[in-house]
Every structure is written in C-alpha cells, then in structure tokens.
C-alpha cells in the first residue's frame, strides 16, 4: 500500500510521458508529431516538479510564519525547460509550414514517397 502512496504520482506521469512519446513516434501527420512532442515534454516537467514537492510545504515565496517550503530548484530548471520547449515547437511548426508549401502535404508517408529516401 505504501508503495502506491509513495509512487502513484510518478507512475501516472510516466504514463503521460509514454502517451506523448507514442504520439511522436507513431503519428504520420507532422503537426500531430509536434503536439505529441509537447505532451511528452510537459510530462517530463511534471516529473521534475513532483520531485520538488514537500508534503505540507508551500510555494517557495517567503512569507512570515511559514517554515516548510517546497524545493525551488526544480521550478527554476523547469522554467528554463518550458522556454526551450516552446522554442522547439515554434521552429518545428514553421518547418511544417514550409514542408506544406514545398510538398503540398504534411503526411510523412506521402512526401517520403516523393523523394527517394536515403
């Protein structure tokens, strides 16, 4: 029982990661791939934030009368990672738009047939 209480959060987060990962590698449509990538990354962020939680703690902004704060470091790391995520998304999506212009399709199997793949 204690195993479940200790780890339920991590397990669900792992499930979410894998759902996102599956979308990335299996989707045929490039936009959907990018969405999957975002879900994958957001779930990894949740893994980090879960580590930083202290039961009974509160947000790491100092106020009087509170001594137990959650760990601020994962928050800092994930702030950076979120920005990295949106940057990748933006570049990925603009590549998708250019691919649509160049090939007339954003389905992976269709433009692979057009060019001889290496």
């Amino acid at each position: 029982m204690s195993v479940i209480v200790d780890y339920y959060n991590y397990w669900i987060v792992v499930f979410l990661m894998m759902a996102g990962f599956y979308v990335v590698i299996s989707a045929n449509n490039l936009v959907k791939k990018v969405v999957g990538l975002n879900i994958f990354q957001t779930s990894v962020f949740m893994l980090y934030i879960s580590m930083g939680k202290v039961s009974g703690g509160t947000a790491p902004i100092i106020i009087e009368g509170v001594t137990q704060y959650s760990n601020p470091l994962p928050h800092v790391l994930i702030l950076t990672a979120i920005v990295v995520g949106v940057a990748t998304t933006a570049v990925g999506l603009s590549l998708v738009i250019r691919i649509k212009h160049a090939y007339g399709t954003v389905e992976e199997n269709e433009f692979q047939n057009e060019d001889d793949a290496i």
Partner: protein, 328 residues
Amino acid sequence: MTEVLIDLVLLGMLAMTALRVIFLKDLFAVVMLFSIFSFVSALIFINLDAVDVAFTEAAVGAGISTVLMLGTIALTGRTEKKNSHSSILHLVVVCVTGAALIYGTMDMPPFGNADNPIHQHVAPRYIEDSPKEVGLPNIVTSVLASYRGFDTLGETVVVFAAMIGVLSLLGTARPTNKRATPESGLAKHRVLHVVAKIIIPFIILFALYVQFHGDYGPGGGFQAGVIAAAALILYALVFGASFAHRIVSPRQLEVFAPLGVLLYASVGLVGMIKGANFLDYNVLASTAAAGQHYGIIIIELGVGLTVFAAMLGLFYAFSNQVERSNVQ
C-alpha cells in the same frame, strides 16, 4: 489529503486527454485538447507549489503554443489521414521505455517526503540564505536570476535562436502588404472589437505589474514578456496584423530581441570589468544587496524584452503566412 485528492483528479484528467489525443484524427480537436492538457498541467504545478512554473506553462503552453499550432493547421489542413504503416514496433519501443522508467521509480525517494536527498543538499541554502544573500522573498526568482543566472542567459538565447529559426524559415513579415485591410481581422465581430479595446490596456498594465512584481510574487521578465506579447497578439487577431504592425513593426522586433540578449550579457560584462566573475552582481553597487537588486532588475528587463520581441515576432511570421494564403 485534499492535495492528494486534487492531484489524483487532475492527473486522471490529463491521462484521459492524452489518451484521446492518440486516437483523434481531427487535428483541430487535437490542438484544443493540447491546450486543455497545458491548462491542467499548470493546475498540477500550482497544486505542487510551483506557482512560477504554472504561470509560465499557462502563458506559454496554453497560450503561445496553442496559437501557433492553430495557425499551422489553418495552413496545413485539419485532418490526419489514416495511418498506413503498422505501429507495433512503435508500441514496443514505448512500452520498453515506459517499463524502464517504472523500474526506475521503484527505488525513488517517496513522493513528497521532506527527508528526500533532493531537499537536503543544495536546496536548503537557497531557502535559508537567499533572502539574506540576494534579498528577494521569491526564492525562485533569486535562484533563476542570480545563483543560476547563466542558465537564464542560455534560456534567453534559446528564445532568440527560435526567433532566428522561424524568421529564416517563414520570412520576415513586412508591413507594406497593401492588401491587408481591416477585413483581415475579425471584422464582423463588433462585440469583440469593443471588448478587445477595453481589455488590451489592462493586459499591458498587468504585464508591467508582473515584470516588476516578480521579485515578490510569481512572475518575472519571462512571464511579463509573454503577457505583453499576448496583448499585441490579441490586437492583431481582432483587428488584423497590419494594424498591429503599426504599433510595433516586425523590423523593430528584430532589433529588440538581440538587444535584450545584449542587455543581459552586458550586466555580466560590467561585473567582469569591476573585477568579479561573469554575472556577479555583488560588485555592481556599493553594497552586495543593492548590487544584486540592480542586477536582477536589469537582467529581468533584458529577458522581458527578448521574450516579448521573440514571441510577437513568431506570431507575426505565422499570421503573415496565414494572411498570405487567405489573399491568394
């Protein structure tokens, strides 16, 4: 106990949403669900005490990313065609990866336990000493801007790099597009026009509040930049991009974004000239506390400027593509 209950319900919602995304073929629905996914994960972040992260995730994940995705599917079409190749191999890869992670969890420190190593080694100094060493109540801002300021410089550069990538791919939007008329906005929605006019000044005011209140509450340069960009994005959506270009032109954005990076870096260089290490704020003023304070204010400004310019620049580039395809 309530925390745990809320956590479970929200995680359940996320799981449902993620599962649905796998099977939906309508990309429009997929993007809508992604925005819900982002919102709910931000709620989880709040519930796990990461208010700054929630702030950013809501503004970036649910805001900017969703808008960009919507713009993309407006150009590329809304439905995914049937998946032709078998996905058993993919499923196996995912299962193996997931199994590895589950195997890894079996030995993790328990969730939420205050005795975990992560709460023992580096973090206590941040919590106990940062109010004295840096002088801000918001520990996240202290760590972000001072202890790990180099990461944040990197983060700013990442945003700048994304802008470079998007502009080189999609071309820079030029305001001389004569065919863009007020018609290109949501011209028929008069109610939207009125409401947008009322609300946009508040958004900009709020962005300024977030910029300067980040030392005391959730927020900071990054979030403020995104919110300010969101105000102009709203303006561009409702009235048409050519009107937004008159307020802040794409060319100005191409100067603002690199300037923000340079502003950030120059704070570090001043520290170097004064004989300390790069990004050491202590030497910026006569006392260490004042130096930290000035340093953080300036770098937050740099971050805000770059993020504002980059986010708005990204949106301009995307919406320029959409408008061009509508004209044709």
